[in-house]
Amino acid sequence: MSTSSDTKPDLRTVDNAPSPVRGTRLTLHAATLGRPDASVLEGVDLDITPGEILTVVGRSGCGKSTLLRTLAGLLPPLAGKISQDGQSLAGPTAERALVFQEDALLPWRTLRANVELPLAIRGLSRPNRRTQAEAWLARVGLAEQARQLPHRVSGGQRQRAQLARALAGAPHAVLMDEPFGALDAQTRAGMQDLLVEVLHGTGATVVFVTHDVDEALFLGDRVALLGAGRLISVREVPRPRERAAHDNPARIALRREVLTSLGS
């Protein structure tokens, strides 16, 4: 964490504080999810603890995205209760950022202007949000591309910009809907690394949906398995976690150095 203290934007947490967790607890209690005409998941009981990374795996169409959109507040539950830190969800807010699989960047805005959007919504002044947006883009390795339009950068860079945009809003929870699903294997591995590095220190609760079991086991503290219209089980990923090796500050510093000298 100390390696990034000079460039890191305001994260609501003091950088070297002992416990930087500002994550949030998300609870589903006997929840039925889906659209009124077709429920997708029934009787879901799930407690997502502050600051954890919960990965959700399951086949296509098993309701992973529905779960995520419900947690985001975009889809009200059909039955049961969903709460954040004990309070029922009432629609989408900036506290729970959503990262989409497809291009959700606004194509008429440059990457920087896209990252500035949540900051503008929070009411930051123009110069302030500009510096913060640039700092976030630098953190995901896009300092050079800040003034490019989304369609002029690669798919991996677009997803990195989306991650920067989600985190710039200082959310308590980041909900990710197969964010790397459309990327090739190599880009994907780099993105997983970056995710671990960037999330390290933000302390946000992460719900990460994927259909890739390896990805789920690599990233998650716990893995939720969905299938046949219900939550099958939630499994703790055994320690030491594979991703912990990627979490190592020395490794992160080296990686940053390599990226910088490669100019990417």
Partner: protein, 310 residues
């Protein structure tokens, strides 16, 4: 488009294709030459060109007109009418289009009314205009407005409905409200479609303003053209027609250029038929066919777009 200096490297364009301009001028000159030839030789095959004014007749009449005060009064009158009607239609058309596309209540309330009025040709509203408005002037603006309103409304409605839902959801999960969505997603996202409607609307507006002036105007290019016709001044009629053509072309070019300026973000195809190499460039053999996922550097081929040619 030439003021791209601050973005050099992204929208840099090496040379204006003088050859293409020359080709366009030559095509126009050839058409005029053919006209002069057919009328000058009094060609009377099945089509009768013997009664037709020659290009030189029209040019003389044009020169005479340009010296008189009436021509400029006609010009400014017509322009004032069309700009007033068209700008009103642009504002109201976009507003109603967005409203109808975004609100079910508005769609139910306004939809049937709009659909019934839409098929009525604006020029058929002349009696309505005469009954409703105290002056001819306002009636003509009303007809111009109605003409442009519907194409703009319909294009806006379609463009707003076709917006990608994740854009809106993304803004919602950043804590944005309806006004933020309107300003940051709906309007910019619908802009390409809106400009389609504006272009069509402007064309229909010209047709209607000229027709309305012919029926009920005092001054105006349409009025003058009809006057010349009734006094059998055929070169004068052609002066009017040429004037309408040039004004229409200039105004639609203005809309087109503004549209391109505001929608520069649109990804365009890199393929330009018959394009010449953009600039003397070092040969780059290995990176000729970058795949979409790996183009880390902006591809240069997009520079070959012909935005400056309208």
């Amino acid at each position: 488009m030439s003021r791209s200096a601050p973005r050099a490297g992204r929208y840099r364009r090496p040379f204006p294709p003088i050859g293409r301009y020359a080709l366009r001028v030559a095509a126009l000159a050839a058409a005029l030459g053919l006209w002069q030839l057919l009328t000058g030789l009094d060609v009377d095959l099945w089509l009768r060109f013997s009664q037709f004014p020659t290009v030189t007749d029209v040019a003389h009449a044009f020169a005479d007109r340009l010296l008189g005060a009436d021509y400029w009064t006609d010009l400014t009158d017509s322009l004032t009418r069309i700009l007033t009607g068209f700008l009103l239609a642009a504002v109201v058309g976009v507003a109603v289009g967005v409203l109808v596309a975004r609100s079910r209540l508005a769609e139910d309330l306004l939809g049937p009314l709009l659909e019934v009025v839409r098929p009525i040709p604006a020029i058929a509203l002349v009696p309505v205009a005469i009954l409703l408005f105290p002056s001819n002037e306002q009636g003509i603006v009303f007809i111009t407005f109605t003409a442009a309103f519907f194409p703009i409304l319909v294009s806006t409605r379609h463009a707003v409905r076709a917006l990608t839902p994740v854009w809106e959801e993304a803004v919602l999960t950043m804590g944005g409200g309806q006004w933020r969505i309107l300003g940051s997603v709906v309007l910019p996202g619908a802009l390409p479609g809106i400009f389609g409607g504006l272009s069509v609307g402007l064309g229909v507006s010209w047709i209607c303003v000229i027709s309305a002036e012919m029926i009920s105007g005092q001054y105006g290019v349409g009025y003058r053209t009809w006057q010349d016709y009734t006094i059998v001044n055929y070169p004068g009629v052609f002066v009017g027609m040429v004037t309408i053509g040039v004004l229409g072309w200039l105004t639609s070019t203005a809309v087109e250029l503004l549209g391109r300026r505001l929608t520069r973000w649109l990804p365009r195809t890199s393929y330009v038929p018959g394009a010449r190499p953009a600039a003397p460039r070092a040969p780059v053999p290995a990176r000729q066919a970058p795949t979409a996922a790996h183009t880390d550097q902006p591809s240069d081929t997009e520079e070959a777009r012909d935005e400056h040619l309208v």
